[in-house]
Amino acid sequence: MVHALERARRHLGPNGVLVLIQPRRAKRPFIALTAPGQRQAVGSLINPIFEPIITAAEAAVHNVLDRQLVVPIGKTNQTYRVTLANPSQLDAYLHTNTTPPRFPPGGRRRFLDLWSSRPPGARIQVTEFMTVMAFRIAP
């Protein structure tokens, strides 16, 4: 990951900016069913390789900062929600990730049980949590 940052930095011109969009360490995608006037929580998804990837990414960022290759511009945490029509759309959405998150054991069954008894007009809501960091390359 350090090499990826270093190589990206080399491709930048003067005043070039590195922008990183990362999942938030302490938050996992959260699934709920929504319908007019209702919101039924289903639960968080898991991703077993998630934690080491975030740790490695943070270490890579600290590395280039410590070596003064970049200087921080800013960082922000954000939550956003995606609304999907059915479980097939949920699967397609999750598989846009190279390493898609998944339900914990028993979670998918619970989700499908809730979906099968959904109220009229129900949708699937995915809440995602991300961090955006920006750095300017050091002169």
Partner: protein, 89 residues
């Protein structure tokens, strides 16, 4: 959403952008119209095929989608104004 957050830190308008880990180009399609040009790379060839198809359907013409990774990609130095790691570092 992501584009708005990026724009808090850097103005994408008229910039040359290198996007690393573009997947099927979901984010790329959102900001391409702002940028001068975009090179978007992704290790998985199947996703690059999808990205090219979806960009063509959206009539986006200033993006070059390429199979590759950040560690191996080779361009001239100082080619880009912004390097964007989209959920990929």
């Amino acid at each position: 959403m992501e584009v708005g957050l990026i724009q808090r830190f850097v103005d994408l308008r008229g910039k040359r952008v290198l996007e690393i880990g573009c997947g099927d180009g979901r984010l790329t399609r959102q900001y391409a119209a702002l940028a001068e040009s975009v090179v978007a790379i992704e290790p998985e060839a199947e996703l690059i095929r999808d990205a090219r198809r979806l960009a063509a359907e959206a009539k986006i013409a200033n993006v070059s989608f390429r199979v590759g990774s950040a560690e191996r990609v080779r361009f001239g130095g100082g080619t880009f104004d912004i390097a964007l790691f989209s959920w990929s570092l």
